[in-house]
Amino acid sequence: MTLIEIRDLEVRIGGRVVSGVPELDLAAGRCTALVGESGSGKTTALLAVLGLLDGADVTGRVVVCGVDVLNAPEKILREIRGAKVALVLQSPQAALNPAMRLGTLMRRALARHGVKGAAARARAEQAVADVLLDPEILRRYPHQVSGGQAQRFAIALALALGAGVVAADEPTSALDVTVQAEIVAVLRRLREERGLALLLVSHDLALVSTVADDVLVMKDGGVVEAGPAARVLTAPAHPYTRDLLAAVPQMREQSREHRPDADGGEPDPGLRPGARRARRVTGSRRRRRRPHR
């Protein structure tokens, strides 16, 4: 089932195209990622999906769960936001009302979508448990939880409202790698178990490669390359995608497979041209540096 369909989307501000996506289809249980640098238009495309681009000149077709977003009245859009597509941002704490306990916040959101009383409480507790948070967190205020907990709460809010799509803008960029790994694990599980679809905006290609099924590489407001993540990120066709991949800092490490006798010597040469190139660069620098020590 296609939850999001985009055709010939163009967003213009002051006559200039700041974001253009010719084609995007997101089905239940899938993840599509928009990658690129700041200013590439990836967040603007995400906001277009939620009908959040007041004042911009938006053309094309965006259909979310059967609703034509660009032509729908605000009342319909409000029902879509939250109940169909939940937005998860980089700093969730900034988006949560600081004067409200998380439980109150979630109950109010549920009430707005017609779920009240004991049913709301039960849904809130279930959703929180689904993202591996202690229900006790519902009694806390936003400043009393960590960044990772706040991010998982934002996902729980989406689950409680029954959203089928999570639109996430750099959801883990502000988090420690270990916490990021937990968020990724939660999202992967929800995709498998609930058929949750994920529209991910990120500049972290390594993260995207481990989460996304499909990738759109954006630059200066346009899509330069699109396709399955496994192909685009391992055998990139566009020079810009290759540049992005070569810029990802590489880390020496042995294979993560269980290898008790590994000597940890030469790093795995990598499977993609970008990796090989980047490693060669760091390798030669390292050799040049050594005599200085």
Partner: protein, 293 residues
């Protein structure tokens, strides 16, 4: 409550990396090293001078020799001051206006900034340009040591790669030593010969960066490394236990450790030497042997 304790480390020409999650004490340690905090116990020396007991005259020399470069270049620059003026503040000696301009232009060119940008204010530059300006200003006082606190975390991956290239080049040109604080293990791998992994205010593992990344001896180092996503790699490994607070007795990491045994509850591990590194873990031999839990 001490927030950083029992830390011993040296910063030399090979570069020292401090790795750990937020709250592990990395930045506190850096602030102490910069002389911005007075430790309750222990010694910090620069050359032969005790940083905490510098006389007024010595302090000026120390402050020039050890320069900080923080994550957000925008915050470190006076928003009302032109970039060139900010950089010129660090220049010493009596200089005529023309000499001053020439020195600023040379510093800017040295960090890859167009000297024509000297008249701009910080908000008129991109994040990468601001970070270059901060580095140029730090270099104006001819430092010996740069304390780099997450110098590239706020930048796009391609910009990050260029800043890392710059830091690598400047090290050779200016004979600099780096203390690099980051949660990005790949960045440490590029710039630091030695690394120190901090957990809950203690250094739990120290040693050559390559050894730490290819064959961690502490379960926390292993968890940090395996949480890093890689292009085309498996999903990052999540422990699901990052919320557990550090244990107040015994080994502080034991609540998150897949290898914890009763000894870890009863006895805090002391740092000991093992295969070319210092590690504070009762079961380090097993971690080195490839055991995960």
């Amino acid at each position: 409550m001490p927030v950083v304790h029992d830390v011993s480390l040296a910063v030399d020409a090979g570069g020292a990396g401090l790795i750990g999650e937020s709250g592990s004490g990395k930045t506190t340690l850096a602030r102490a090293l910069l002389g911005l905090l007075r430790p309750r116990a222990g010694r910090i020396t620069y050359g032969t001078a005790d940083v905490t007991r510098l006389r007024r005259a010595e302090r000026a020399g120390f402050r020039a020799a050890v320069q900080p470069v923080f994550q957000d270049g925008g915050e470190a620059l006076n928003p009302r001051m032109r970039i060139g003026t900010s950089i010129a503040e660090g220049l010493t000696g009596r200089l005529r206006a023309a000499e001053r301009r020439a020195a600023v232009a040379e510093l800017m060119a040295g960090v890859g900034l167009d000297p024509a940008l000297a008249g701009r204010r910080p908000h008129e530059l991109s994040g990468g340009q601001r970070q270059r300006a901060v580095i140029a200003r730090a270099l104006a006082v001819r430092p010996r040591v740069l304390v780099l606190d997450e110098p590239t975390s706020a930048l796009d991956v391609t910009v990050q790669a260029r800043i890392l290239d710059l830091l690598e080049r400047l090290r050779g040109e200016h004979g600099l030593a780096y203390l690099l604080i980051t949660h990005n293990l790949a960045v440490v791998d590029r710039l630091c010969g030695t690394s120190h992994v901090m957990f809950a205010g203690r250094v739990v593992e120290s040693g050559p960066t390559g050894d730490l990344l290819t064959r961690p001896a502490h379960p926390y180092t292993l968890a940090l490394r395996d949480a890093v996503p890689r292009v085309g790699g498996p999903p990052p490994a999540a422990s699901g236990r990052t919320e557990a607070s550090p244990a107040p007795s015994g080994c502080p990491f034991r609540r998150r450790c897949p290898l914890a045994v009763s000894r870890c509850r009863e006895e805090a591990p002391r740092p000991r030497s093992l295969e070319g590194r210092r590690v504070a873990c009762h079961r380090a031999e097993e971690v080195l042997g490839g055991r995960r839990g």
